[in-house]
C-alpha cells in the first residue's frame, strides 16, 4: 500500500495565488475549469479571455495563453479569436456586470450566432471589484452602494435572468445554471462546465454555464453565511437547471 494523490491542484492552473477575498467562489470555479481542461486534454490549445471585474486577473491564474477584454467585450474578442483560428479552444470568464449589463449585446449576439466558444458566467448579484454597486442581477430589496435603500422594481427594474433570455436563441448548444456552495454542487457544476466545453469541441454551438456565487465581502457576510444565502435567496430568484442541452450524454 502507498499514499497516492486523490485530489490536487490541476495542471491548467498557474499556481499563482488568487487575488480573491477569503471564501469567494471565483477560486472554486477557476479550479473546476482547469480540471475540465486537464481532463479534455486541451490545455495547449485553449485561450482564456478574462473580463473586467474581480476576475480581471483570471488570465494570470491559468496555465494558458490569455488576454483581458475591455469591459463587456469578452465575447466579441473570443469571437474574433475563434473565427480567425477555429482550431483553438476559446473561453470567456465573465461576471454579471460584464456579461449582463455593459456586455449584453455581445453576449446575446455571440450566443445567437452560435459562436463555438464557451462562457463561464459568475453571477454574484453585485459589482465586486468596484466596491459593491448594484448589478443587473442584484435581487429585489438587496442593498448595494448604489441601491442603498434596496433594489426596487420601480426604480431599478428587475433582476435579469440571463439563462432564461438566452435559452430562446437557436445558436445556443449548452446552457445551465448551477451553484458551488456544497461539494455536491461543485461536482455537478464541473459536469456542466465540461458539457459547455464539449458544445464547442463537438462544433455544436455556444455553451454557457451560469454559476451562482458568493461575494462575502460586498454582501457583508462571512463565507459560510454567504454560502447559505445562495440557497435562501439566490436560488429562489434564479432557479437551477439545464436550459439547453444539444450535447447529449457523454460516452
Amino acid at each position: 500500500m502507498e499514499y497516492k494523490v486523490a485530489y490536487r491542484m490541476p495542471e491548467s492552473l498557474s499556481k499563482k495565488q488568487f487575488s480573491y477575498c477569503p471564501g469567494c467562489h471565483h477560486g472554486i470555479v477557476h479550479r473546476l475549469i482547469a480540471e475540465v481542461i486537464d481532463e479534455l486534454g486541451i490545455r495547449e490549445k485553449t485561450i482564456i479571455v478574462a473580463p473586467v471585474g474581480c476576475s480581471v486577473f483570471a488570465y494570470e491564474f491559468f496555465e494558458l495563453d490569455g488576454t483581458v477584454a475591455a469591459h463587456g467585450r469578452a465575447l466579441a474578442v473570443a469571437t474574433g479569436m475563434k473565427r480567425a483560428r477555429p482550431d483553438l479552444v476559446v473561453f470567456t470568464y465573465q461576471g454579471d456586470g460584464d456579461l449582463a449589463a455593459i456586455g449584453t449585446a455581445e453576449t446575446i449576439h455571440a450566443a445567437n450566432r452560435g459562436e463555438r466558444v464557451t462562457t463561464i458566467f459568475i453571477n454574484n448579484a453585485i459589482y465586486g471589484m468596484t466596491g459593491g454597486q448594484m448589478a443587473p442581477t442584484t435581487l429585489l430589496g438587496m442593498k448595494t452602494t448604489t441601491s442603498p435603500h434596496g433594489r426596487s422594481p420601480e426604480r431599478e427594474g428587475y433582476p435579469i435572468h440571463v439563462c432564461e433570455v438566452l435559452k430562446e436563441l437557436r445558436g445556443v448548444a449548452y446552457l445551465a445554471r448551477t451553484k458551488v456552495n456544497t461539494p455536491k454542487d461543485v461536482i455537478n457544476t464541473k459536469k456542466h462546465i465540461k458539457k459547455a466545453f464539449l458544445a464547442q469541441l463537438k462544433d455544436i454551438g455556444f455553451g454557457l454555464v451560469e454559476v451562482l456565487s458568493t461575494c462575502p465581502t460586498n454582501w457583508g457576510m462571512d463565507p459560510l453565511k454567504a454560502g447559505r444565502w445562495i440557497d435562501e435567496y439566490m436560488v429562489k430568484e434564479y432557479p437551477l437547471g439545464v436550459f439547453v442541452d444539444k450535447v447529449g450524454e457523454e460516452k
Binding site: M1, E2, Y3, K4, V5, A6, Y7, R8, M9, L13, Q17, F18, Y20, C21, P22, G23, C24, H25, H26, G27, I28, H30, R31, T182, P183, V186, I187, P216, D222, P223, L224, G227
Partner: protein, 79 residues
C-alpha cells in the same frame, strides 16, 4: 496506517473556513498560527485517523490549497 490524509498549503490559505464546514469527519480546524498574510490557516487534526480522503475539503477550497492523499494498493497487492 491512516486511510487518507490531507496537506494544506498554509501560505496559500486565507482562512475562509469552507473546508472546515464541509468535512464530514470534523477533523479540520483553524490553526493558532498566522501565515504571512495574517490569516489563521486551516489544519488537519486527525489523531484517530478518521480521514477517508473524500475530497470535500479540496472541492470547497476556493484557493486550491489542499492536496488529498489516499492509501492505495500498489500493483499486485490486494487490499
Amino acid at each position: 496506517m491512516k486511510k487518507a490524509y490531507i496537506e494544506i498549503d498554509e501560505e496559500r490559505c486565507k482562512g475562509c473556513g469552507l473546508c472546515i464546514s464541509v468535512c464530514p469527519q470534523k477533523i479540520i480546524r483553524f490553526s493558532e498560527r498566522f501565515n504571512s498574510k495574517g490569516y489563521h490557516p486551516a489544519e488537519q487534526n486527525d489523531p484517530e485517523g478518521k480521514c477517508n480522503g473524500c475530497g470535500f475539503c479540496y472541492m470547497m477550497c476556493p484557493d486550491v490549497c489542499i492536496t488529498v492523499y489516499r492509501l492505495t494498493p500498489v500493483r499486485g497487492e490486494t487490499q
